[in-house]
Structure formats: C-alpha cells, structure tokens
Subunit: 94 residues, 2 copies
C-alpha cells in the first residue's frame, strides 16, 4: 500500500528470495515453504507482508492458494532510486 511498506517488505532476505522464486511463475504457499527451513506459519507471515506491500497477489484454485509477483509496485521503487541518482553530475563544490 505505502511506499515505506514496500521498502520494508524488500528489506528481508527471505522475502526477496520468495519474490525471486515467484519470478519463474506462480507458486502455492506450500511450494514456497519447501524452499526454506521454516514452518508454514512463518512463510505465511512473510507472504502477508509481501501481500500488504502489494508485491504479490494471490489466486485461489482448488485447495491451494497460488501467489504471484505484482511487478507494478516495483516501478515506484525504481523511480525513487532513479531520482535519487538523478541530477548529480557537478556537485563537487562546497
């Protein structure tokens, strides 16, 4: 939802790895969990954070919940970083 939330969500290594897994395509919570040495509850917690940050969304199918990347929010982050790098060609003086 908020900008700050997105950055927070991206700050955890586990969550970044989840996003990388999802890059290849949708996965269920269970599938995701199998890549980590953590309980399902913990994975669920991380997924919630990512969901709240709008970095992923879910779609229910049969008895599973599939998660997938939502890349649109990443644009905003890119833009922020871009602007930070921005007009900084000749700032060497006091």
């Amino acid at each position: 939802m908020s900008f700050a939330e997105t950055f927070k969500a991206l700050s955890d290594p586990v969550r970044r790895q989840i996003l990388e897994l999802l890059k290849k395509g949708p996965l269920s919570a269970g599938d995701i969990g199998s890549h980590f040495d953590m309980t399902g509850a913990t994975i669920s917690y991380h997924l919630k954070i990512l969901k709240q940050a709008d970095l992923i969304f879910e779609s229910r199918e049969k008895n599973f919940i599939y998660y997938q990347l939502n890349t649109s929010v990443l644009e905003e982050i890119m833009l922020w970083i871009s602007e930070l790098k921005g007009e900084n060609s000749d700032v060497e003086s006091k």
Copy 2:
C-alpha cells in the same frame, strides 16, 4: 558492503530522508540532524548504517564531517529490481 545491507539501510524512512537531503549536496551530521526531531546520537547511528551500506561516504573538513551520496550502489539495487520485473510477459498458465 553487502546487498542485504543496502536493502536494510533503505528500509528506514529516516535514512531514506537523509539520502534525499544529500541529493542536493553534501551536509554535515549537524545539518542533517537539524531536519529531524532526534538527538545527534541517533542521527549518527543512522549515518553509520548508511555508511556501512556504502550509500554515503564522508569527507572531513575543518571541524566538520561532510556526508555525501554514493550513487554507485544504487545501480545494483536497480539491477536486481529490474531483473525481478524482467521476462514476465506470458506467465498466466498453471
């Protein structure tokens, strides 16, 4: 130094605001502090985190320490996000 460190450093609102201040040019720790309702010690703590993440560097002059942006690390972050967004045109199937 490390990728994870950079993300962590960027995850705090105060630190992001510090970076935005530095976008306009170098500032001393005191100057930076005057923009926040925090003690100098806390500002110093945040500056240390940013420094360890290589997002800023310092240069001493007279009795002051001036901080400035180091944009080079931001490239890496941009690249990571870019790759995450990457080839995701036709992933709609199971």
